[in-house]
C-alpha cells in the first residue's frame, strides 16, 4: 500500500483537472505538480477557481474530469477523512465547543493516535505555534491571531503529508496579516511540510511561496517562482494582476523577433516580446510603475529609450514613495502610473505639472491583446 516517496516523485499531481457546476466552469483543465517540502501559492482574483481547486485536493469536491494523485495514488475514491491532509479554513472552522487544546487533539483522536501520546503532541504543537499554556482556553477567549495559531496547530498536529491554506489570513488587519505570513513561513520551514496556499493577495504570494500559480477565470495563467513571475509575466493578465502596471494599446508596425515597434494613439513605442506578431496586429504593452522614470525635463530622461511628455493628473504620498498618475497625450486616454522613491530629497511634482516620462525598451513587455488562454505546460 505505502509507496516510498522518492525525491523525484511529486507529492501532489493534477492532470487535466476540470470542475463544472452546471454550466459554470470553475476550474478549466488544470495541470501542475508539487514536490515534497515546497510551498505553492495559488493566486488569483475572487471567483477565479482557486478555492475550488483546493477543495478538490482536500476531497470536498470531486473533479468533473481529470485526475488528482497524492503520493502517486489516484484519490478519486478516497473520502476527505482518509486523506492525510491538514487544512486551515478561511473562517478557521475551529470547533467552538472545545478548548484550544481539544481542537488540536481532535484530529489525533479521530486518526487513532495512541491516547498516551496525545497530550504530549498537543503540548508540542501549542509550543510550535507559540501558544504554550493556552491549551485550556476556550476558542472565544482567544484573539483573532491566537485563533489562527490554533487552526494551524490543528491542521498540523497529526503530521499530514500536505497542508492546505484557504485564505485564512484574509480577515485579519494588515499588520496582523503580515505578522502571520511570516509565522506561516517560519512554521512551514521548521516542519518542512508541503503546503498549498490560496490567496488573492499578491504580496502574500510573493512573500510565502517557492512557486506561484496565477489563475484567472478557472484557467492557470502562469506557473513560476516569485522572481520570474514578477520579472517575466507570461501574459497580459499576469502582468497587470501583479504589481502596479500601466497598459498601453497599439498596433504592430515592425515585428522582428524580440523587439516590437507598435503605434499607439499619437506615437510609436518599442517593447520586448517573447512571441511573434503579425504586422497590424493589436497588442498591449505593459510597463511597471517602478520602471518608469519621471523628470521635469528631457535631461532627466538620459539613457532611456521611450520618452514622452505628460501632465501629472494625481499624486499619492505613500510614505516610502510617491505614486503619480500621468496622462500622456501621445498615449490617448490610458493612464500611466509611476513610482518615485525617496521623495524627501527632491520636490515632488504637483498636480497639473508638465513632466517627462521615460523607460527602457526591455521594460515594456508586449502581449497579444485578445483574451489570453494559456495552454498548460
Amino acid at each position: 500500500m505505502i509507496k516510498p516517496v522518492t525525491q523525484t516523485s511529486p507529492l501532489v499531481e493534477l492532470s487535466n483537472v476540470s470542475k463544472r457546476f452546471g454550466k459554470v466552469t470553475a476550474v478549466d483543465n488544470a495541470n501542475f505538480s508539487l514536490s515534497q517540502g515546497s510551498v505553492l501559492t495559488i493566486l488569483g482574483p475572487s471567483g477565479c477557481g482557486k478555492t475550488t481547486l483546493l477543495r478538490m485536493i482536500a476531497g470536498f469536491e470531486s473533479p468533473t474530469t481529470g485526475n488528482i494523485r497524492i503520493n502517486g495514488q489516484p484519490v478519486q475514491a478516497v473520502p476527505p477523512y482518509k486523506r492525510s491532509i491538514g487544512m486551515v479554513f478561511q473562517n478557521l472552522a475551529l470547533f467552538p465547543h472545545m478548548t484550544a487544546g481539544e481542537n488540536i487533539a481532535y484530529p489525533l483522536k479521530m486518526r487513532r493516535f495512541s491516547p498516551q501520546d496525545i497530550p504530549g503532541l498537543v503540548e508540542r504543537y501549542l509550543d510550535i505555534v507559540r501558544l504554550s499554556g493556552m491549551g485550556e482556553r476556550r476558542i472565544q477567549q482567544l484573539s483573532g491571531g491566537q485563533q489562527q495559531r490554533v487552526a494551524i496547530a490543528r491542521a498540523l498536529s497529526f503530521n499530514p503529508d500536505l497542508l492546505l491554506l484557504d485564505e485564512p489570513l484574509s480577515a485579519l488587519d494588515k499588520k496582523l496579516r503580515e505578522e502571520m505570513q511570516l509565522e506561516f513561513r517560519r512554521i512551514q520551514q521548521q516542519l518542512g511540510v508541503t503546503t498549498i496556499n490560496v490567496t488573492h493577495d499578491q504580496r502574500e504570494a510573493l512573500v510565502m511561496s517557492d512557486e506561484i500559480i496565477v489563475m484567472s477565470e478557472g484557467a492557470i495563467q502562469q506557473i513560476a517562482d516569485p522572481v520570474s513571475l514578477y520579472r517575466q509575466p507570461s501574459n497580459r493578465f499576469v502582468a497587470s494582476f501583479i504589481g502596479l502596471t500601466s497598459l498601453i494599446r497599439g498596433t504592430v508596425e515592425d515585428a522582428r523577433e524580440g523587439k516590437i515597434t507598435f503605434r499607439t494613439t499619437h506615437t510609436t513605442l518599442q517593447g520586448q516580446a517573447s512571441e511573434r506578431f503579425r504586422f497590424g496586429e493589436t497588442v498591449e504593452g505593459a510597463i511597471r510603475a517602478e520602471q518608469v522614470r519621471i523628470s521635469t525635463d528631457i535631461k532627466g530622461a538620459e539613457g532611456m529609450d521611450n520618452i514622452l511628455d505628460g501632465v501629472v493628473e494625481q499624486q499619492i504620498f505613500e510614505g516610502d514613495r510617491m505614486v503619480y498618475q500621468i496622462s500622456c497625450p501621445a498615449l490617448g486616454t490610458a493612464p500611466l502610473f509611476v513610482f518615485d522613491h525617496d521623495p524627501s530629497h527632491h520636490t515632488p511634482h504637483a498636480q497639473g505639472d508638465r513632466v517627462v516620462v521615460s523607460w527602457k525598451v526591455r521594460d515594456l513587455l508586449v502581449y497579444p491583446c485578445q483574451k489570453y488562454r494559456v495552454s498548460n505546460p
Partner: protein
C-alpha cells in the same frame, strides 16, 4: 439636551407601562391564590395556603397534572431528534424539494389549531388510537415542531458552514463528525427548543381538548372544565403552579444556554 431628556422620560414611561401591563395578570393571580376566602378575588381576603393544600388533595387535578407531564415528556422526546435532524438537514444539505419540505414542516404554524385538532381527532379515531394518552403527546409535537426547528435552525446558522468539512479534514467519518462536532455545536439550540416544546406542550389546550376524554384529560383541559362549573381559588393555585414551572424553564435555559444567546437567536 432637554429634547433627549424628555425623550428618555417618555420612553421609560412606556417601558414601565408595558412591563406593568404584561405582569399584572400574573401578579393578580399569584395574589388571589393565597386568599383565605372561598372566591377568586383581588386583593385577596386574608392569607392562607389552604388552596394549595386542597389542590394536593384533589386527585382529579393531581392525575391531570401527571398526565400533562407524561404528554409533555413524550412531545419533547419525539421533537428533539425530529426537529434537530430536520433543522440541520434543511440548513446544511442540498436536498431536493428543499423549499417544499421547509414549507411543509412550517405548515402547522399556518393551520388554525381547531382545524389540526379536528383533523387529528378523526385520524386518530380511524387508526384506533384515540382515547390513549401517548398520541396526545405526538399531536402536540406535530403542531409545535416549527418552534423546535426554528430554535435549532438559529443555532445551525450560527455555526461555521465549513465545520463538518473541518471535522472530515481532521479524519472524522461523517457519523462521528455529526456526533462530535455538529451536534455539540447546535446543542444550545436543541436545549432551547426542547424547553420550549415542553412548556408549549404543558400549556396546550385546544388540540388536547379534541383528543382527550374524561379518562385522559390533561391539566389545561381540566382547568377549562372546572371554570365552566364553579370558579374557586384552587384554580388560581393551579395557575401559580404553571407560572412556577415556566419560571423554572426560563432559569434552566439561562443556566444551560444563557438567556442572552436565546434572545439573540432569530
Amino acid at each position: 439636551m432637554i429634547g433627549s431628556r424628555s425623550k428618555g422620560v417618555v420612553l421609560w414611561t412606556i417601558v414601565w407601562f408595558d412591563l406593568l401591563l404584561l405582569s399584572l395578570p400574573t401578579l393578580i393571580i399569584i395574589g388571589a391564590s393565597f386568599t383565605s376566602g372561598d372566591i377568586v378575588q383581588f386583593p385577596p381576603e386574608g392569607f392562607s395556603l389552604k388552596w394549595y393544600s386542597k389542590l394536593w388533595l384533589l386527585d382529579d387535578f393531581k392525575s391531570a397534572f401527571l398526565r400533562t407531564l407524561y404528554v409533555s415528556i413524550i412531545c419533547t422526546l419525539v421533537s428533539i431528534p425530529a426537529g434537530t435532524l430536520a433543522a440541520i438537514g434543511l440548513a446544511r444539505y442540498r436536498i431536493r424539494f428543499h423549499t417544499t419540505i421547509q414549507v411543509y414542516l412550517l405548515l402547522p404554524f399556518t393551520i388554525p389549531l381547531v382545524a389540526s385538532g379536528l383533523g387529528m381527532m378523526i385520524f386518530f379515531g380511524e387508526i384506533r388510537i384515540l382515547g390513549q394518552l401517548w398520541p396526545v403527546g405526538l399531536a402536540l409535537c406535530i403542531i409545535n415542531l416549527p418552534f423546535m426547528i426554528w430554535a435549532v435552525s438559529a443555532a445551525v446558522n450560527g455555526l461555521d458552514d465549513q465545520l463538518e468539512n473541518a471535522a472530515a479534514n481532521c479524519g472524522a467519518p461523517p457519523l462521528q463528525a455529526f456526533f462530535t462536532v455538529t451536534l455539540p455545536g447546535v446543542m444550545p439550540g436543541v436545549i432551547t427548543g426542547a424547553l420550549l416544546m415542553f412548556i408549549l406542550a404543558f400549556n396546550e389546550f385546544l388540540v388536547s381538548l379534541f383528543l382527550t376524554d374524561a379518562r385522559t384529560v390533561t391539566l389545561p383541559v381540566s382547568i377549562y372544565n372546572s371554570i365552566r362549573s364553579v370558579i374557586t381559588p384552587d384554580l388560581a393555585a393551579v395557575s401559580v403552579v404553571y407560572i412556577v414551572i415556566a419560571f423554572i424553564a426560563v432559569l434552566l435555559l439561562d443556566k444551560l444556554v444563557g438567556l442572552e444567546l436565546f434572545l439573540k437567536s432569530k
